[in-house]
């Protein structure tokens, strides 16, 4: 290997391997980009390796990125009121694609109209999201929960094999 690659290799090891990777994005046809940028800055400063897919992200894109990066969690944002429709079947598609342990969070303006948050939370949990957050959530708490969830779900394993378990056959 050349020196450049060797160096690259070491930086890659140092920076990427130790930090857990998380995927961010705003799902569906949603263009609200401000909160997404804030989340990127926040979670990066909290020591996560953040892969931000930006706005208008499809389920398939979230999943593709999670597979390639061996991500521990996907944090889905939805602000424009269609989150429930956009998120339907997300967990199923993850399983289908071999992401059988990935942590799924949803947040933003998931509530439409006067529906109480608890009702919405329940719906999203039924769809397979691990945690669901209202817009005024304390992000520090989210980071704490995320670290805890990652520890619990991925602690026993050595190496990766976490997000993309190779025992599950996946094809597009």
């Amino acid at each position: 290997m050349t020196d450049a690659i060797e160096k690259n290799h070491n930086t890659a090891k140092a920076e990427n391997l130790e930090k857990p990777t998380i995927i961010l994005g705003v799902i569906g046809a949603d263009c609200h980009s401000v909160g997404n940028k804030i989340l990127e800055l926040f979670f990066t400063s909290e020591g996560f390796k953040v892969v931000n897919l930006g706005v208008m992200v499809s389920q398939q894109e979230f999943i593709n990125a999670a597979i390639e990066t061996n991500a521990r969690a996907i944090l889905v944002s939805s602000l424009y009121g269609h989150g429930e429709i956009d998120c339907q079947g997300f967990r199923d598609l993850c399983l289908e694609k071999g992401l059988d342990r990935i942590i799924l969070y949803a947040g933003g303006n998931l509530v439409v109209g006067k529906t109480p948050f608890e009702v919405v939370e329940k719906k999203f949990k039924q769809m397979g999201f691990d945690r669901v957050f209202p817009p005024d959530v304390d992000l520090k708490k989210v980071a704490e929960l995320l670290r805890q969830d990652i520890r619990e779900r991925f602690s026993q394993e050595a190496g990766d094999s976490g997000a993309a378990d190779s025992t599950v056959r996946t094809r597009n």
């Binding site: 690659i5 090891k13 391997l17 263009c31 990066t69 424009y80 094999s161």
Partner: protein
């Protein structure tokens, strides 16, 4: 076929250099003698001789001696000081590369692009984990190179290591270029220590970040060794001290250099239809960010080549007929032509590969075949927009490469070099505008040109050393249609 354009023999001494470029194709070995002076590069003479399959040197020598007006039996050593010599070879239609990636839209797509941009042909591609079937297919195909990628740096490793183990246990014999997650590169090399493994930088170090150059360079290095080995080429390398290029790479480098050296030709594309394959080259920015256009998937490289093994005028005519039937059917109707006459023609030319059309119908058939090569090569090379209506208004989702700004399209290869009208390219590209629900990002108002003297591969050989001169002659030598 010898064409003498100019033979300056006497006259005042001027600084002048003789340069020979030779392209060893699968049927023809083509050569050009160029003269380099203060005023630039000029074509002096152009020859074409049949390629001598068993020993490529014989055809090479014939082309060279004819170009230099020497006796056919002159030894190569004696010819050495007569001119500077460059050459390329399209040995069996380019290197056969198998591509392995993880996610089809991400690392696999990049692996395919890297292979094609290095002048290779993708004969198979595999995503996720290799199945028993995939491995059998690989063993049966025995590619020239295996390009093995997957995972961002520090990203997925389970698929990569699993595939490495499977490949290690397989009977594939070719060199393997590993261009995946760098964090497991050492481990991959160790697992596959029974194979020839070359490690290079990741094709996609981060999501969406495109880094195909290092892998392309490795493919190029291996191509060199492969092209040179066998059939006499090593002798040429030894005597003339020049390395051959794969022909498509020579053209790629010319297309890459033209906008840099000839700024008025800033956004261009070229289509090269051969007997076996159709190559599509483009050099233009692939995505312009605006509020209403969102790019999905990877941002494709500015200089891009795709090559289609199922689209060609002779060897691939049967498979072209299969692929292109929807297009051909529509055209046959428009032209009120009997589908059987086309089918019969394709059956004939498939039997007799160097057949040239004689009747009017046959000429029309050839033209339809060329049109459909353009149509499907364009379909696969050019990206598109899908419209979505958000509550905010209309937004376009772009996948693939935007060619709208391309102002010049150059036709090359046997058929398009000889084209007398732009229609053979314009009609299929126009029809592509209405492909499915997608709006194809086609060149908006392109001018069409023909590489009339078939110089692109020859000039591609010179572009490394003489970028300004070779590109200048390239744009001067094309003829507007």
């Amino acid at each position: 076929m010898i064409q003498v354009l100019l033979t300056p023999r006497s006259g005042p001494e001027i600084e002048m250099k003789k340069i020979v470029s030779i392209d060893i194709g699968s049927t023809w070995t083509k050569g050009g003698l160029f003269c380099l002076t203060d005023s630039g590069l000029k074509l002096e003479k152009r020859v074409s001789v049949p390629t001598t399959q068993n020993n490529l040197v014989n055809g090479f020598r014939e082309a060279l001696t004819r170009l230099l007006d020497k006796d056919l039996n002159t030894s190569l050593k004696e010819l050495k000081d007569q001119a500077e010599i460059y050459f390329s070879s399209s040995a069996k239609g380019g290197l056969r590369i198998a591509a392995i990636g993880l996610v089809p839209d991400l690392t696999l797509q990049l692996a395919r692009l890297a292979a094609m941009s290095a002048g290779g042909k993708v004969i198979a591609s595999f995503a996720f984990s290799l199945t028993g079937n995939d491995l059998r297919k690989l063993e049966q195909l025995q590619p020239d190179i295996l390009l093995f990628s997957g995972g961002t740096d520090g990203g997925n490793s389970s698929y990569i290591l699993e595939n490495a183990r499977k490949l290690a246990a397989s009977s594939i014999a070719c060199p393997v270029i590993y261009a995946g997650n760098i964090a497991v590169a050492d481990e991959v090399a160790e697992i596959m220590s029974s194979k020839e493994v070359v490690v290079t930088e990741n094709l996609m170090p981060e999501i969406g970040q495109v880094n195909i150059e290092p892998a392309r360079e490795k493919i190029r290095e291996i191509s060199l060794q492969r092209i040179v080995s066998g059939r006499g080429l090593s002798e040429i390398v030894e005597i003339f001290g020049c390395q051959p290029k794969p022909t498509p790479l020579a053209v790629f480098e010319l297309i890459a250099a033209i906008p840099t050296c000839q700024p008025e030709w800033s956004d261009l594309a070229a289509i090269d239809i051969g007997g076996a394959t159709t190559d599509f080259y483009s050099n233009t920015e692939s995505y312009l960010e605006t509020d209403t256009v969102v790019l999905k998937g990877i941002k494709e490289p500015k200089v891009k080549r795709t090559v289609e093994g199922d689209l060609g005028m002779r060897v691939s005519a049967e498979s072209l007929l299969d692929t292109a039937w929807p297009y051909l059917e529509e055209r046959l109707k428009e032209l009120k032509l009997d589908p059987d006459s086309l089918r019969n023609y394709v059956a004939n030319i498939s039997r007799e590969l160097d057949y040239l059309p004689r009747t009017e119908i046959e000429i029309l058939c050839d033209r339809l075949l060329a049109e459909s090569c353009v149509y499907y090569a364009g379909l696969r090379h050019i990206g598109g927009w899908k419209e979505t209506y958000t509550p905010q208004g209309r937004v376009y989702i772009q996948t693939g490469k935007d060619l709208r700004r391309v102002r010049a399209i150059i036709g090359s290869g046997g058929f398009l070099s000889a084209a007398t009208s732009a229609e053979v390219m314009r009609i299929p590209l126009e029809k592509l505008r209405h492909y499915g629900q997608e709006r194809k990002l086609l060149p908006e108002k392109p001018a069409f040109f023909a590489d009339r003297q078939y110089l692109f591969s020859l000039l591609g050989n010179l572009v490394g050393k003489y970028p300004r001169e070779a590109t200048s002659l390239a744009v001067k030598s094309v003829e507007i249609l």
